[in-house]
Subunit: 329 residues, 2 copies
């Protein structure tokens, strides 16, 4: 069906994908071809969570303040069209045992650009320019935020790494400050979107974390664009241990307060040795044979990358499956 505007118009599709570092990066990588083609390229925008307080990002955040750059860097890397000296640098991590060990050069490049330009939007845009990327990226907020949660036993978790190892489900989850403002550029992209994708990724610390920014959540609720949840392949030891796909959808509905129009889940089984490794660490496959979960149509498709040693979305399979979901909406 082709219409005059929206999802089935003749205009290039405007897609906003929302999530965290790894899952959103995988989704952007799967959609990059659509955004990079010369004819009717999709207008692709990533909105990236910034509540990370672990790893290189966490150390840099503790030392230099500001927002953590790691998830933005992953997504920037996903959007680069070609390997280059610069993309090599963006993805480089220092070795050794000292102060630099484990730091990502790309994180440092992002922080430097943010300081030079005085502005995250400009910093990312300028780096995107020299990296030759497709699509745009915005942090979900430029306010330094702390993710906090409380489980049903009353245990409180402060900071993303703490919430990541919580005992789910959580009864409360919030960002401090409560009223962190999103960037107007990100809101505008959501308002103009034909399609909104909730990227796979850590349920609470990536997906829900973005929806806790009030203006962001409310802008999604107000737009007419359909919302598709690209579900995780596996549950995550800690924050989503033992939660099934239905609970994932219910969680997003509860914290997002906007309708979800479709769920895209994986139907392919993991190879036995890969599955064994996950089960040993407390992760299990996330899938469903149900056509509807919490009232939302579920599209089950084989999405696994058969070559990967971990459970990973295959870019081409994910791309094709998403196009089928879009056709059906």
């Amino acid at each position: 069906m082709k219409g005059q505007r929206g999802l089935h118009s003749d205009q290039p599709l405007k897609v906003v994908a929302i999530g965290g570092g790894t899952g959103l990066a995988a989704l952007l990588r799967a959609l990059k071809n659509e955004a990079g083609r010369s004819r009717d390229p999709w207008k692709l925008t990533g909105v990236v969570t910034v509540s990370d307080n672990g790893g290189s990002s966490g150390r840099l955040r503790a030392e230099l303040g500001g927002i953590p750059p790691g998830d933005l860097r992953n997504c920037l890397s996903a959007l680069t069209q070609e390997e280059s000296v610069l993309s090599d640098m963006l993805n480089y991590r220092f070795k050794g045992e000292g102060n630099m060990a484990g730091h990502s050069l790309g994180n440092l490049m992002l922080l430097a650009m943010a300081d030079i330009t005085g502005d995250w939007v400009r910093a990312i845009r300028q780096l995107s320019g020299v990296l030759v990327t497709v699509g745009r990226l915005y942090p979900s907020t430029v306010v330094p935020v702390t993710l906090c949660a409380e489980d049903f036993d009353g245990t409180r978790y402060v900071g993303e790494t703490s919430v990541n190892s919580c005992k789910p489900p959580v009864s409360r989850i919030w960002l401090e400050p409560l009223d962190a403002e999103p960037l107007p550029e990100a809101l505008l992209a959501i308002m103009q979107a034909d399609l909104i994708l909730l990227a796979p990724g850590s349920l609470y610390t990536s997906t829900v974390a973005n929806l806790l920014i009030p203006e962001l959540r409310m802008t999604i609720a107000r737009t007419e664009a359909p919302v598709v949840y690209v579900a995780n392949l596996m549950t995550e030891p800690g924050e989503s241990s033992g939660l099934d796909l239905e609970t994932h959808v219910a969680t997003l509905q509860a914290f997002g307060c906007f309708p979800i129009h479709a769920v895209l889940a994986n139907s392919a089984p993991l190879a036995e040795p890969v599955l064994r490794r996950y089960l040993d660490e407390g992760g299990s496959p996330l899938s469903s044979t149900q056509p509807l979960l919490c009232g939302v149509p579920v599209f089950s498709q084989p999405l696994l990358d058969p070559e990967a040693q971990l459970a990973r979305h295959h870019p081409t399979l994910l791309n094709q499956a998403l196009r089928e979901v879009i056709e059906s909406l």
Copy 2:
């Protein structure tokens, strides 16, 4: 005079400039136009000292090993043809009080590229490519070296920062290991050069430091290209305190063991407040009214940048003066 080859040939001039971070960078900046012009561009090569053990370079060297990147970075920055996002990043320094404070992002970019490519020549060449620079740069050696010296009282100085604060003149100065090898690319550039410039810079820790690499010194001695010493504007508290221009020339003759064909020195007086600041810290102007020092013709020209708050070579004045020296050789 125009000949078939060498300094006065019709071919583009091949110039090799040898020195350390600040002075060599100033010289390269002064010659950049000649190397960047579309008609008969000079072939410019910088050979950069790598015995630095202070500052961001020293910290990185202590932590990650390898050669210190700071002087190379300064020279790379001097050779960039236009301001760009990348040159901004190359010149960025982290603020604050923590582990990152004072680190140069350009140093980190160079170290990362050296690790990624496994090769300093390729690392610098690839960075030069994306930065759009003119000319080529080589470290004087890729062997991690330590500069050592002994003064006439028998006091021994180990490491560049220590030698920098020595009581001159020194009786002995050497690199450990003694037989550090230069890069074949640098030797080839010297062998093919029409002109060799000894850049201004710290007498022992920048200029002499390069000449302590046996193959480098011997290759300069074997080439027929004239050698011009672009003298410092000021003596340096510590390593060149109280040394006059004649002693500078004699020192280079003694440690270089090759003929020097001309000295280019500054004749312009420093503005009173700038001079006062230098004198207070133990530096004094380095100039001479003599036409010959140690048998070497001295060209005295006003070379000072009148706008600078420190004693700095003015790129255009230095460029013009050098062209006059070349004409006279």
